[in-house]
């Protein structure tokens, strides 16, 4: 039971960056923008978060920085995709590379250090008093990162906005048939910009979870592929907020198993492979249609 509860806790922690990465992809791609740059956006978020915490001495200001920074980078990303009509997949590759390089350069500028920042104030885990004592569900409220709740809030918000609001309806339509939406008199690009700013914010939060909640510093390339996994989770989840959430959870469970399986006497590489193998097997046996939004990558005037 004790072990089980620890595994749950670990799974929840592992899920945060994956789910947020996936949500970032879902938000962008449902509006028709191909987002291979989740990894880079998250890394930039991780950096701006630490920078904010460093400059202010307050970790929550750091979080705010990652939110604002994420939004700005999301905007710039869209500027390339829409205004400058860059090939969207290439923008992704470029942004990932840019993020990796620029954060390293700035480490030198702000901390005069190579490869990692100084430790900064971080956001502590929380335990909700009474509720955490309840058996089973209590685990969800015991020693958890506040980001977990932020993540759930984001998933819920995206779902509500997508499926319960006017802008959500329009936005989903944009991803399928932007010309139809445009002839309804809606400024398609404006919606895309706004959505991408939010996608950037979500990526930023996902990044600062790594640097401010899980850790208390920035390390070069510290996202370590989580953005790509998030992107995969988004596709796996069918470009849908709930699907992305569940897919992120599945990946997180696979990773949890990886941590607990490390004493099994098989070469570590095979254990590290497990999350990826598991995903492949699920795809093979469950089968998942690769049908994304119809207008993915399509621009309007």
């Amino acid at each position: 039971m004790e072990l089980f509860s620890r595994m749950i806790t670990l799974t929840l922690q592992l899920s945060v960056p994956l789910v947020l990465g996936a949500m970032c992809g879902t938000i962008a791609e449902r509006g028709g923008i191909i987002l291979l740059g989740v990894e880079g956006l998250m890394l930039l978020g991780a950096f701006t978060g630490v920078l904010g915490s460093h400059l202010s001495g307050n970790a929550y200001v750091g979080l705010l920085f990652s939110i604002v920074g994420g939004g700005i980078f999301g905007y710039l990303y869209t500027l390339f995709c829409l205004k400058l009509k860059a090939h969207q997949s290439v923008v992704g590759v470029g942004v990932n590379m840019f993020a990796s390089g620029i954060t390293a350069v700035l480490l030198k500028v702000f901390w005069n250090r190579e490869g990692m920042s100084d430790p900064v104030a971080s956001i502590p885990n929380v335990t909700v008093p009474v509720i955490s004592e309840i058996p089973v569900i209590g685990m969800l409220f015991k020693d958890q990162s506040p980001y977990l709740y932020l993540m759930i809030l984001i998933v819920a918000t995206v779902w509500v906005v997508f499926y319960r609001t006017k802008v959500g309806l329009r936005y989903r339509a944009i991803g399928e048939q932007p010309f139809a939406v445009q002839t309804s008199g809606i400024n398609v690009n404006k919606y895309r910009y706004v959505a991408m700013v939010f996608a950037g914010v979500v990526a930023g939060v996902g990044g600062s979870f790594l640097s401010l909640s899980q850790n208390n510093l920035f390390v070069m390339d510290m996202t370590a592929g989580r953005g790509f996994m998030g992107l995969a989770a988004n596709i796996f989840g069918g470009w849908n907020p709930i699907g992305s959430f569940l897919a992120g959870m599945v990946f997180a469970v696979a990773q949890t198993i990886r941590f607990y399986a490390s004493d099994i006497k098989i070469p570590i590489q095979f254990i590290q492979m497990m999350p990826y193998l598991l995903t492949l097997f699920i795809l093979l046996f469950v089968g998942k249609k690769a049908k994304g939004p119809e207008a993915l990558g399509k621009l309007v005037k």
Binding site: S89, F98, G101, V105, K108, V109, A232, P267
Partner: protein, 352 residues
């Protein structure tokens, strides 16, 4: 008839030239932005760029090295372009090139007795076969299960590199503290073209593959089918093509070409498989392919540009305090700006 054909090719050449011009403009902007960053960190951009050019093109050896550095990127670029033409995004070139590299080295190590004339082609063929196998999988999933080839390939990248890590730290580990296989015999390695440089006959393999790819895509029946399926699968099926087979074929072919990036690196430069020898050739290949307009000629040019930046960066890093990371930033700016054709237009409009 031949008159119109001539006119046609002239027009094509002109528009290609225009494309090239805009790309150059974008590269210049990236360099200007890079110069600003260099200034900000308190270095002299002119000195830095001089070093960059000298390092990349200063003498025969550096030119040779520049070519040699562009070769793996050209291979992955060609690979991604091949898949793109077939309507597939091959994000798995990284895994494919690792598989190819390992396979060729293992064959070389397993059959040391064979004469080079037999063994070398055998190594290359095995490497290509391994790459094709890894490329085949996402193609197969896509054709049979309609799973996104992107997600399968991302997973495969991790799986393949981890598996190679297992091989190189387990059964095929060499003595010493580096994760690498034993060295293959020196005679087996690709011949150097310019002394003391890293340029080998891999260049000829590349040129042959690029030419073959061009001829295949635009002159052969199979290439036509591949492009047709990539551009309009349902029309292709109605015309009697086997779209699924062609999708798998495109990915396998792409994997085979990507593997050559790995094969020529290990057979040409290292003489063994070294863990982590590829600095993301596979991912950069996506940019190379698209910036090269999925055309072999464009891919070769783009990869050469990347080769210049990569090689020049080494000297720039040495003689100035411009760190490797700033070079990464500059390269990413080149990718971003070259991918955005509108930038050139915007600037021309402004300057008018």
């Amino acid at each position: 008839m031949s008159e119109t054909a001539k006119k046609r090719s002239k027009l094509k050449a002109l528009s290609a030239l225009g494309d090239f011009g805009s790309s150059l403009l974008s590269v210049s902007i990236a360099l200007v932005l890079g110069a600003v960053i260099i200034l900000v960190i308190g270095e002299d951009p002119i000195e830095a760029y001089t070093a960059l050019l000298q390092g990349a093109l200063g003498n025969a050896r550096s030119i040779a090295n520049t070519f040699s550095k562009s070769i793996p990127l050209a291979f992955t670029g060609l690979a991604v372009a091949m898949a793109n033409r077939g309507g597939m995004l091959n994000i798995g070139a990284e895994g494919q090139l690792h598989a190819g590299a390992m396979a060729s080295v293992l064959v070389a190590l397993a059959l040391p007795g064979l004469p080079v004339a037999v063994l070398l082609p055998l190594c290359i063929i095995t490497g290509v076969a391994a790459g094709m196998l890894v490329g085949f999988i996402p193609g197969y999933f896509k054709a049979k299960k309609q799973t996104s080839e992107v997600i399968v390939a991302i997973m495969l990248n991790y799986i393949v590199t981890l598996f190679m890590s297992f091989l190189v730290n387990g059964p095929f580990k060499a003595e010493g503290s580096v994760s690498q296989t034993n060295a293959i015999s020196e005679g087996l390695m690709l011949t150097k073209l310019v002394g003391n440089s890293q340029l080998t006959t891999a260049l000829f393999i590349l040129l042959a593959v690029a030419a073959a790819q061009y001829i295949f895509l635009w002159k052969s029946a199979a290439g036509f089918q591949l492009r047709a399926v990539g551009s309009n699968p349902s029309a292709s099926v109605s015309a009697g093509m086997n779209a699924k087979k062609l999708m798998i074929f495109a990915m396998a072919l792409s994997g085979g070409i990507a593997s050559l990036a790995g094969v020529t690196e290990v057979m040409g430069k290292y003489g063994r498989y070294i863990e982590g020898f590829s600095p993301s050739f596979g991912f950069t290949g996506i940019a190379v392919a698209i910036l090269g307009r999925n055309h072999p000629g464009g891919v070769l040019l783009t990869s050469l540009l990347f080769g210049i930046l990569d090689t020049g960066a080494l000297r720039m890093g040495r003689v100035t305090n411009v760190s490797a990371n700033i070079i990464v930033v500059m390269q990413s700016l080149v990718i971003l700006l070259v991918s955005a054709p509108e930038i050139a237009k915007l600037i021309r409009r402004r300057s008018r």
